[in-house]
């Protein structure tokens, strides 16, 4: 039993807003859904499966199903933070393969920017988790958790700030071609390492943007995909896994990609070297570096060398990544970047990326996400897609 060849991504939409003071959260979800339906050439009444995560208002999928007037026979509100939507793609393929639904909608939306959230630097205060009393007193924010991973990686493997900076440099080279990207200026390694320190060793330009926005994906059966006029993007492999502190056996040098990647590659029957384009979650530069290593694009510990000298830049590098500018430059709706990772991978496979960053003959792509915190607990999810 496998999801390979059982489901297709037939509709994608990235909400154009980056600051949505004039819109409600439910509206952003619904506008994204509408956009993806139009992209697919489907109508709302075709949807029989719905997937959303913790950014959707209300209890699981209920409020949004009500708001959008959906009649469903399958729903799933798996929430692993920013990687949720990659898990949703895999779960939607499973549900479709089993006949539990035929056309599944996945939505994401959020307004952290217009709400003025200090997303990266505000200390966590949630009290109702078992770990809270053993972590919250110490001021864990988002930035300093990822920073501790970077610090250990540098110590163990000799990774440098300049190497991490290359990840931002590559993202900025792509973002200059995206008129909607929040940061469109091409930056240099010096710009990154000279930007203000946020949490040692991560600088301001090692961090992703804070943006409002949203997006949606429509996954459908092979029969539906065949009936539509869009280029066909097939889901051929998926994997997911949580990583945590393992009862105190903490190891921050690797991510859950070591567990989500191999089953996805095995299911797809491809190797990392076969991948033509990769969307890699980029909450911070270190996130990208660790996931690239853990997915097997290079040897463990060699990520710094691998990402250097423009190796992630489309057209010149071996592994073109995040050609929309990613979270580092384009957007990070709801502080959750997993959905837009799938969207740009589908654009690449369809040949619909910006001509300046479109990968030639892009027939095999990977999207990978990390949700939660790399420094404590996170959900890793890998999706491999093929153009048919």
């Amino acid at each position: 039993m496998s999801i390979k060849n059982k489901a297709y991504i037939v509709g994608i939409f990235e909400h154009p807003t980056r600051k949505a003071e004039d819109k409600s959260l439910a509206q952003l979800h619904a506008e994204s859904a509408k956009g993806a339906l139009e992209d697919a050439g489907l109508s709302k009444s075709d949807i029989d499966g719905y997937f959303c995560a913790g950014d959707a208002p209300g209890l699981g999928p209920l409020s949004m199903a009500d708001y959008m007037g959906l009649k469903l026979r399958h729903m799933d509100s798996t929430d692993t933070g920013g990687s949720s939507y990659l898990i949703h793609v895999g779960h939607a393929a499973e549900a479709i393969a089993l006949g539990k639904c035929t056309i599944a909608l996945i939505t994401l939306a959020g307004k952290p920017r217009s709400e003025g959230q200090a997303t990266g630097t505000a200390a966590r205060t949630t009290q109702n988790t078992p770990e809270a009393p053993f972590e919250n007193p110490y001021g864990p924010a988002t930035a300093n958790m990822y920073a501790m991973c970077a610090m250990r990686h540098m110590h163990q493997y000799g990774t440098t700030s300049e190497q991490l900076a290359w990840i931002k440099v590559a993202a900025s080279h792509h973002a200059q071609h995206n008129p909607r990207a929040m940061l469109r200026d091409v930056v240099t390694v010096e710009d990154v390492v000279n930007s203000p320190m946020i949490a040692d060793p991560l600088h301001r330009l090692d961090c992703c943007v804070i943006s409002d926005g949203g997006g949606a994906i429509i996954v459908a059966s092979p029969e539906v995909a065949k009936s539509l006029k869009r280029p066909k993007v097939k889901i051929i492999g998926a994997g997911e896994a949580p990583k945590h502190q393992m009862g105190g056996q903490v190891d921050l040098t690797y991510s859950g990609a070591v567990w989500s990647g191999p089953p996805a590659f095995a299911e797809a029957g491809v190797k990392p070297r076969d991948i033509k384009y990769a969307s890699i979650y980029d909450s911070f530069t270190i996130t990208v570096l660790m996931q690239i290593e853990d997915l097997g694009f290079c040897e463990k510990g060699q990520g710094g060398r691998f990402v250097s000298d423009g190796n992630l830049i489309s057209g010149t590098g071996k592994l073109p990544f995040n050609t929309d500018g990613g979270g580092l430059c384009n957007n990070h709706p709801a502080n959750r970047g997993g959905l837009t990772k799938v969207v740009e991978a589908v654009r690449q496979l369809r040949g619909e990326a910006h001509p300046a960053v479109q990968v030639k003959n892009c027939d095999l792509a990977l999207a990978h996400g990390t949700g939660g915190s790399l420094g404590t607990r996170h959900g890793a999810a890998t999706v491999i897609m093929e153009r048919e």
Partner: protein, 130 residues
């Protein structure tokens, strides 16, 4: 950069963690010990995260450890050092490195336990250079 005092969010003890925080009030850092498989764990819990036995108890830690990793949060009203410290008993725990020059903290540095008052709750285990 000299460390300054930061307001520390009070841990909220629950039925499972009450004994841990009671010990903290007496200046003791406790870790979880499973009498079925023998493994120690952190944070302490009623069910062993390794063998899933309910034969767990608290064991006092020596308070000695080394810094596994850390980061100084510069973008905060009062900069502070968050860290993971590997205890000599084995488990690695999240903590703060305090009472020291934040710019001189290093991975591998030996540290010892100190307790710092929280904002209206039990004292919290932290570490300072040994």
């Amino acid at each position: 950069m000299p460390a300054q005092e930061r307001k520390i969010q009070a841990p909220q003890p629950n039925p499972e963690t009450q004994a841990f925080w009671k010990a903290a009030e007496g200046g003791k850092l406790m870790i979880g010990k499973c009498t079925a498989c023998g493994a120690v764990h952190y944070y302490p819990r009623a069910i062993c995260p390794f063998c899933f036995s309910d034969k767990t108890e608290l064991q006092q830690a020596s308070g000695n450890g080394t810094i596994y990793t850390y980061s100084v949060m510069r973008r905060a009203p009062i900069p502070y050092a968050i860290a993971y410290v590997s205890l000599s008993e084995g488990p690695t725990m999240m903590t703060n490195i305090v009472d020291c020059d934040l710019d001189k903290i290093r991975i591998g540095q030996a540290v010892r336990l100190v307790f710092k008052p929280s904002d209206g709750g039990p004292p919290v285990p932290m570490f300072t250079p040994a």
